[in-house]
């Protein structure tokens, strides 16, 4: 396995472009759902690479957990948020795209040339020896020896995640107690409360708009007659003026 065999080369040259296309697609797609799908393409390709590179377990985890679970979570949230929320094309930050791209190219260039140059003459050891008891066994051995502490600690991460999701998403029902009829009536007839039916909007008013408060018997407008969400309408002088009763021959 240490040497790269033809099959792997073919796989690589088919999937590597796909992975790059997937990545570019994710960045370039205007619709967020499309982005997610493009990313899934990349992730699947990577999963295959893992398997090809003697990591069957990690490859499967990639496909099942990453692609299957995590990306689904993304999609789920995207649906919640509204899938039509696509980015506008206009970039609000001046130069962001250009500079960002240049920096990206620079980063890629630096890393790729650096890495390539540095590792050209590496000898590939291959995982045959490490995997001789089976890949999963090999991993398990490491997880439960050298990395056991980190492994245990990841539980803390997961608990944090759970707690976090809970506090950020969970709303308690506001403790509304059932109120009995007697209590309701008592409250209604408490001193200072107005027990009668609320006047409808427009009563005694010159306008029958819902935004116009009713007039009380003393002529004052009653704010109780209009819904609090409606803004009180300021009447113009003309509107306020008494309108002549419509008589026959106008």
């Amino acid at each position: 396995m240490s040497a790269v065999q033809t099959g792997e080369i073919i796989t690589f040259f088919i999937l590597a472009p796909l992975a790059v296309i997937g990545a570019l697609g994710m960045v370039l797609a205007r619709n967020a759902v499309h982005s997610a799908l493009w990313l899934i393409l990349t992730m699947l390709s990577l999963g295959v690479f893992y398997i090809v590179q003697a990591g069957p377990f990690i490859g499967m985890v990639q496909i099942i957990v990453y692609t299957g679970a995590i990306m689904m979570l993304f999609l789920f949230v995207l649906m919640l948020v509204g899938r039509d929320a696509s980015d506008s094309v206009i970039e609000t930050l001046r130069g962001q795209k250009v500079v960002g791209t240049l920096l990206g190219v620079g980063l890629a260039g630096l890393m790729a040339t650096g890495i390539y140059q540095a590792t050209r003459d590496y000898t590939v050891v291959g995982l045959e020896a490490a995997n001789k008891d089976g890949n999963v066994q090999g991993l398990a051995k490491l997880i439960f020896t050298n990395y056991v502490f980190a492994f245990e600690v990841t539980s803390a991460l997961l608990i944090t995640a759970a707690v976090g999701a809970m506090i950020l998403a969970h709303q308690e029902k506001s403790g509304v107690k059932a109120v009995g009829q007697v209590a309701k009536m008592r409250e209604r007839f408490l001193p200072g409360n107005y027990p009668g039916p609320k006047p409808g909007p427009g009563v005694f008013a010159t306008s029958n708009s819902v935004a116009t408060p009713a007039k009380l018997p003393d002529g004052n407008p009653s704010q109780r007659s209009i819904s609090p969400i409606l803004p009180t309408r300021e009447l113009t002088a003309a509107e306020k003026a008494d309108k002549p009763t419509l008589t026959g021959g106008a």
Binding site: T92, L93, G100, L103, G104, M111
Partner: protein, 625 residues
């Protein structure tokens, strides 16, 4: 007494302290204390004077305490009483006491009389310190002390802007001279390591000619400042803003002669360099002519007298500049001048006293009838100063003129002798003008003037001084000259035959004097017009103090004030501006950089990525480079 010299200074100083600190309580008796103090010093001075005769070496020196000491430099607080000091002590305390007495009357109606006497005593103390010190630092101490007292007294009426300004001017111009004097002291300390008179003089020979010249010039600068000699003469006439007794005591009789004292005291230095002497003589000659010319054009009684003082001190400078026996001549003239000039100033004060503080001689006239004593005593002074024999001026001035003619170089004889001779004639002219316009001719008073004689407390000193003016010269001339040697050098044994004979000079000077006086008499016998008269360039220049004030203003004051204003601007806008600019730069930079923190998370990511690329690039560059 000679072992307790400090008492001479301490008495007036203590009196001054009492007068200045005691407050209103002392108003009633303070002035009498003020008179007593110099009188007491005078008595002590007399005792010391007589004690001196029997002393071997005729000098008493004592160190009171170490003034200050650092490293190899030690300055003692020491006093020296020798013949030169003695005559000055007697002049200061004697004439001083009389003027104090006069001031009791003169200042009777001034609410600040106690303060006045405080300052006056302070002056006497400082002046005594000046002449009693046994080293240059002591001299400097007194020197500045009299300057201070002079300032305080000139601006005694400090609510008069002119008085305040005059005081300031006096102090400042003196300070210029003092700076020179101070540097001279530093030079002595640097070259000789001492300022003690004896030690300095004994080492003068070891100094290079150049050093002596510089040292002498610096001392001369100091002397010019204090004595109102060219080019630092401008403050003296303005100093007449002070009460008249001040003018008499400080700006005529004593303080202004301190310059002469300084040069006379430093005679080993000055005698050691002929160039130096030439310069002193030139200053003296120039100043004496200047004083005469300007004095002839002035209408303010006290200013005429002031310019006359300038001119007379010019004679003294001429004398000390000539060196040799002329030192003593100058000192003798100084003493006589102390009498007659004090006399005339007090007389002028008496006139002003009677004329409601009028000072314009064009507003006087015919006063002889109304203030007889003043007229008579003033006349004595007048006759003395113009050198009419046998009054004192004749015996003291004429030898200086003669000495000026007796030089090795003929051109020097002609120039300086001629100047002195011309000065004698001019002196006669302007003094006569003053005298005639004041006491004779038609009355030109302003309305409501009731001239009257001054009270006894004022005329008694006048009379005493007048007697002094008459007899001092004749009595003193030769004994004092002898008495003064040493410390002053003796007249050289071999006589220098000048370009003119002694008799010729005497005759010439008398002729000139009579001519000058007669001309003045003829011109001003009938009074003068009140309006400024059209005049030729010389008179106009003389009225404008020969443009020296204008020169000072144009060269020092104006540029000084421009410079000051420019520097204030530089300080605020330049130096402070740089600092504030830096602060503004940081602030501005901060304000601009702040904008980079746009609040957009993508911008932040961009800056992180940029930073990352740079870090990577730099790391790789370091690695590869």
């Amino acid at each position: 007494m000679l072992s307790n010299l400090w008492l001479l200074i301490a008495i007036p100083a203590a009196s001054a302290a009492v007068l200045l600190l005691a407050g209103r309580k002392a108003d009633r008796w303070g002035h009498w204390l003020g008179v007593l103090a110099p009188a007491a010093s005078f008595v002590l001075g007399l005792i010391a004077f007589f004690g001196l005769r029997d002393l071997p070496g005729r000098a008493a020196e004592q160190t009171l305490w170490t003034f200050f000491k650092s490293g190899d430099m030690t300055i003692d607080f020491g006093l020296l009483f020798d013949p030169l000091t003695a005559v000055f002590v007697l002049l200061i305390t004697g004439v001083g006491s009389l003027i104090h007495l006069y001031a009791v009357g003169y200042m009777a109606h001034d609410e600040g009389r106690r303060r006045f006497f405080g300052y006056f005593n302070l002056f006497v103390a400082a002046m005594l310190l000046l002449v009693l010190g046994n080293n240059y630092v002591m001299l400097y101490l007194g020197w500045e002390g009299v300057g201070l007292a002079s300032y305080l007294l000139i601006s005694f009426w400090y609510n008069r802007p002119s008085a305040a300004t005059a005081g300031k001017k006096a102090f400042l111009m003196n300070r210029v001279g003092d700076a020179g004097f101070a540097i001279a002291i530093f030079l002595m300390l640097a070259q000789l390591g001492t300022v003690n008179y004896n030690q300095v003089f004994s080492q003068v020979g070891a100094l290079t000619t150049g050093t002596v010249l510089v040292l002498g010039l610096l001392l001369l600068l100091g002397a010019c400042g204090k004595s109102g000699q060219f080019p630092l003469q401008a403050w003296l006439p303005d100093a007449m803003e002070g009460p008249t007794p001040v003018s008499a005591l400080i700006h005529a009789a004593t303080m202004v002669t301190a310059g002469v004292y300084l040069i006379a005291r430093s005679n080993p230095i000055f005698s050691a360099n002929s160039t130096l002497q030439l310069i002193v003589v030139s200053v003296g000659a120039l100043t004496l002519l200047m004083g005469c010319i300007i004095g002839a054009a002035k209408d303010d009684i006290k200013r005429v007298l002031a310019w006359s003082t300038v001119s007379q001190i010019g004679y003294m400078f001429l004398g000390v500049g000539l060196g040799g026996g002329a030192y003593a001549l100058a000192i003798i003239h100084l003493l006589a001048h102390g009498f007659f000039k004090a006399n005339m100033f007090l007389g002028a004060g008496s006139v002003m006293h009677g004329m409601q503080d009028q000072v314009d001689i064009r507003r006087f006239g015919g006063l002889a009838k109304y203030m007889k004593i003043t007229w008579l005593t003033f006349m004595m002074g007048w006759l003395a100063i113009i050198g009419l024999p046998p009054l004192s001026g004749f015996f003291t001035k004429e030898p200086i003129i003669a000495a000026a003619f007796e030089q090795h170089d003929a051109w020097k004889s002609w120039v300086f002798g001629g100047a002195a001779l011309l000065g004698a004639g001019l002196t006669a002219f302007y003094m006569t003008r003053l005298f005639v316009l004041t006491f004779h001719g038609p009355k030109r008073w302003t309305d409501g003037q009731h001239p009257h004689e001054s009270p006894a407390v004022m005329w008694i000193p006048l009379v005493l001084l007048a007697i002094g003016s008459v007899v001092a010269g004749g009595l003193m001339a030769s004994p004092v000259a002898k008495w003064l040697e040493p410390p002053l050098p003796a007249a050289p044994a071999e006589e220098v035959h000048g370009v003119l004979g002694h008799t010729a000079i005497t005759v010439l000077s008398l002729v000139l004097t009579v001519l000058g006086a007669g001309l003045a008499w003829a011109l001003f016998r009938r009074g003068t017009a009140l309006e400024p008269q059209p005049a030729g360039p010389v008179v106009r220049a003389a009225r404008a103090n020969l443009y020296t004030d204008a020169f000072n203003e144009a060269v020092f004051e104006k540029p000084g004030s421009w410079l000051t204003r420019a520097l204030v601007y530089v300080d605020n806008k330049g130096i402070d501006g740089v600092v504030n600019g830096l602060a503004a730069l940081v602030g501005g930079g901060s304000g601009r950089l702040r904008r980079l923190q746009t609040g957009f998370v993508r911008s932040y990511a961009l800056s992180m990525l940029a930073g990352g690329v740079l870090v990577l690039g730099a790391l790789l560059a370091v690695r590869l480079g």
